[in-house]
Amino acid sequence: MSATKVTSPIEENILKNLEAGERVLISGTIYTARDAAHKRMSEALEKGEDLPFDIKGQTIYYVGPTPAKPGQIIGSAGPTTSGRMDKYTPSLLDRGLKGMIGKGYRSQEVIDSMKKNKAVYFAAIGGSGALITRSIKTMEVIAYEDLGPEAIYKLTVEDFPAVVIIDSNGADWYQLGKQQFNDQHTRQ
């Protein structure tokens, strides 16, 4: 199947043309963060402090990798369930976050905020961490180092495989994909 090549940070004119269901290969810079890092970022914002990196235009990958084996850049690094980050996500979108990579449903609040802020949500294949790791080329810790695998890392990726699940117009592939499939196959 063909896939669209996308570079992160994603340029606005490219981002707004990405459509739910579209396969993509992401290259460029992405930042990792999961539960604990999101909690800290949100606490920082509540206190009026700055985020540990300039989030404007950036993409966050929800992942908590396994420890790297000697000689590896990063261990297995597949997506974790995005819904756990929903509570913290709208405030990050308001500050310019443009892309998110994870797996699973997002809340209506997140979808609304994505529409308002023109952002896009991708899913990587859950449980394919050994394969995904091959597209990660560099890894550098940039904040909350004490959190270990839950710290914020800056990754350089090359042709990271993902699918657009929710596009900047709020179309949700988890609903549409299922519907489209049922219309084409089971309800004949």
Binding site: M1, G21, R23, V63, G64, P65, T66, P67, A68, K69, Q72, G75, S76, A77, G78, T80, T81, G83, K103, G104, Y105, A123, I125, G126, G127, S128, G129, A130, L131, T133, R134, P149, P161, V163, I165, W173, Y174, G177, K178, Q179, Q180, F181, N182, Q184, H185, T186
Partner: protein
């Protein structure tokens, strides 16, 4: 009387933990290959191909197939004529898990306190250990590395006896539909019916230890497993919830007698990373 030493258990458990995470069982890989032949969605096929490739990489490079290397769940069958020397079996298993996870570069995913979320000091321990006594002098250790994503979408309900078979089916289909992409389909759906509140959850978990493709020995349950497979795969959820007809790789049902007023049903979902190992001592 057979004597099994503490050290032996530690070594075997450590090995199982790594094997479970590196080497996806042949039953699951075959289920992927079979699904690839019947899956109608292009994206679905593509995902199944990537899962096969992922399992190959994990096995040949000895790296975990998924970054969530799970909670280690054990069902240990212990023969009445088997003696464990050198310490407690619970300690031996936990020591084995710690060793296996630490040395295998597997992720430590346990918090000690569910509310304060304080991380546990023992590497990926304590594990969940169920012990069943059997006759004879053998010890059989079944181990599963159970992922959090699918566990979180599992469910238990005390149905009314009048809900009957229809009510049970509806509840199962509804649970799978709600789980959607979150449980990382294609799934293995484990169902426990009967017993009581805690027992049906255990039955559901236990059913997941049966290999994929293995049907219940009770003909009425084997038929129900087949029926549910078909109905779940008609939901259209597909691999990773992106549409398709491979939503479940298998359905497993275990039943037990229960109270005249009760119909407990538990559904334990497992993701495609259905990681199980077994060793006999």
């Amino acid at each position: 009387m057979k004597i099994i030493t503490y050290g032996e258990i530690v070594e075997q458990v450590a090995k199982m933990c790594q094997e479970a995470n590196f080497d996806l069982g042949q039953d699951v890989v075959e289920a992927f290959q079979n699904a690839l032949k019947t899956e109608k969605s292009e994206t679905g096929k593509d995902i199944l191909e990537q899962l096969i490739q992922n399992a190959d990489i994990a096995k040949s490079e000895r790296v975990p197939m998924c970054q969530d290397t799970g909670v280690s769940v054990f069902i240990v069958e212990i023969g009445q004529e088997c003696h464990i020397s050198g310490g407690s079996i619970y300690d031996a298993i936990n020591e084995g898990v710690k060793k296996g996870y630490e040395e295998g570069y597997l992720r430590h995913s346990i918090v000690d306190h569910p509310i304060s979320r304080e991380k546990s000091k023992g590497y990926n321990t304590p594990s969940i250990i169920h012990i069943e006594m059997i006759t004879g002098d053998e010890m059989i250790i079944h181990m599963s590395a159970k992922g959090g994503g699918s566990e979180n979408m599992s469910s238990l309900k005390m149905l009314k006896p009048s809900d009957g078979l229809e009510g049970i089916k509806e509840y199962i289909l509804d649970t799978v539909a709600k789980a959607g992409p979150n449980a990382c389909p294609p799934l293995v759906v484990g169902v426990g019916i009967g017993g009581n509140f805690e027992r049906c959850a255990y039955l559901a978990k236990k059913s997941l230890f049966r290999p994929i493709g293995h049907r219940s020995e009770r003909p009425e349950l084997a038929q129900l497993e087949n029926e549910l497979m078909e109905e779940i795969n008609k939901l259209g959820i597909g691999p990773q919830g992106m549409g398709g007809n491979t939503t479940a790789l298998d359905v497993k049902i275990e039943i037990e007698p229960c109270h005249i007023a009760a119909l407990p049903v538990a559904i334990n979902l497992n993701c495609h990373a259905s990681r199980h190992k077994e060793v006999r001592l």
